[in-house]
């Protein structure tokens, strides 16, 4: 169970938000909305432990994530708005390495299967710099298929994805939730998932 209590964030001189509260139990997801600059990314980065909150705390299974450290990171998968994809490496290498870094060893066949499912069949061995923006996004998202934790923190996942990829992302999140996963999704579009336990958090500008 992931709990967020009285969270506040200050960036520079500006207060982005204060008193944000929510909790997620298995199978639950939260849609994070708000205009540009309202602090969606900052909130996600705080939930991931990349950013220290100005006040409040994030608790995972009852313990503050800042004391849990690495133990929490095994349960967490963060996809930021930038694609953590190396230009010089192929999608296959990128995926295997990023899984290797998270402590999962996957074979070439497993990686190729995941990339195929993300619609990159036949392009697994191209250097990422030759891929389009949407294909790079797909390649970065393939990690969710192979080596993901219980909590997904997804920042603008649908940007530069086409219709089929958006549908695919929806079904991926639905599957993840049905397996007892949790997700926090920052997005401008409505996701309309077929999952009933759903919360919505709107950050004001």
């Amino acid at each position: 169970m992931l709990e967020v209590k009285n969270l506040g964030c200050v960036r520079g001189e500006r207060r982005l938000f204060s008193n944000v509260n929510f909790s997620l139990s298995p199978g639950n997801w939260l849609q994070l909305m708000g205009p540009n600059g309202s602090g969606k990314t900052s909130l996600l980065r705080i939930v991931c432990g990349l950013l220290a909150p100005a006040e409040g705390e994030v608790r995972w299974q009852g313990a503050n994530i800042r004391t849990l450290g690495e133990e929490y990171f095994t349960a967490l998968t963060y996809v930021g708005h930038r694609n953590p994809v190396k230009e010089e490496l192929s999608s296959l290498e990128n995926l295997r390495i990023s899984c290797g870094l998270s402590g999962y060893e996957i074979t070439r066949a497993e990686a190729a299967a995941a990339l195929g499912k993300m619609g990159l069949k036949g392009r697994e061995n191209l250097p990422a710099r030759l891929l389009s923006e949407g294909q790079r996004r797909r390649s970065a998202l393939a990690r969710l298929l192979t080596c993901s934790g219980t909590v997904w923190a997804l920042d603008e996942v649908l940007t530069s994805l086409d219709k089929t990829a958006v549908t695919l992302m929806r079904s991926l999140i639905e599957e993840h939730l049905s397996r007892g996963g949790m997700a926090i999704v920052a997005t401008h579009q409505e996701l309309n998932l077929a999952v009933s336990s759903f919360q919505r958090l709107e950050l004001a500008s």
Binding site: L50, E70, E71, F73, R82, V85, L89, I97, S98, L101
Partner: protein
Amino acid sequence: MFRWIVARDLILAWRRRADVLSTLFFFVIVVSLFPLGIGPEMQLLRSIAPGVVWVAALLASMLSLSRVFANDYQDGTLEQMLLTPQPLYLVVLGKVLAQWLVAEVPLVLMAPLLGVQFDLEPNTLLILFVSVLLGTPILSLIGSIGAALTLGLRGGGVLIALLILPLYIPVLVFGAGAVDASIIGANPAANLYLLGAILVFSLVFAPWATSAALRISLE
């Protein structure tokens, strides 16, 4: 996980060979300019050799250091590394090891060859090799702190030099000192032991400081 980091950085370095070669050529050219400029005055060349080779090694490693974390910072892969379930200490150690293998080992191998230009004895060349071998990992380790602190800053390259070069002074003094001692026929062991001690010390503390610096830079 550790080997994935090292393997990844080695593959990336291989695909960006030009970066690696530019550091090596910088080192070779700077060291070679001195004998060409001074002319065949053997006595003078022999006495400036340790200082010249070591200063060139410091400057060459500054060149490659600014890139240790900068690329990963820009494309967001550094963020992912901070979220791996292993201690950040190991991640940093892996990246520093890869940087040393890629950027510093060629300097280590090239140093004795360049020493020949300064008319150094074979025995002295060996000491030069050993001192550079012990000293360059320290440069990578200490340099990584500066690279992490200056991430995302404009003019980071110059700032790293200002932050880190003063910290390199002990390495320069003992490294060049070992070679100096060997030239005048004294025992260089004391200098080499001190280099070894600094290496062990920075191996323990530098990755820890770099991890803290990375967390601050990524906030």
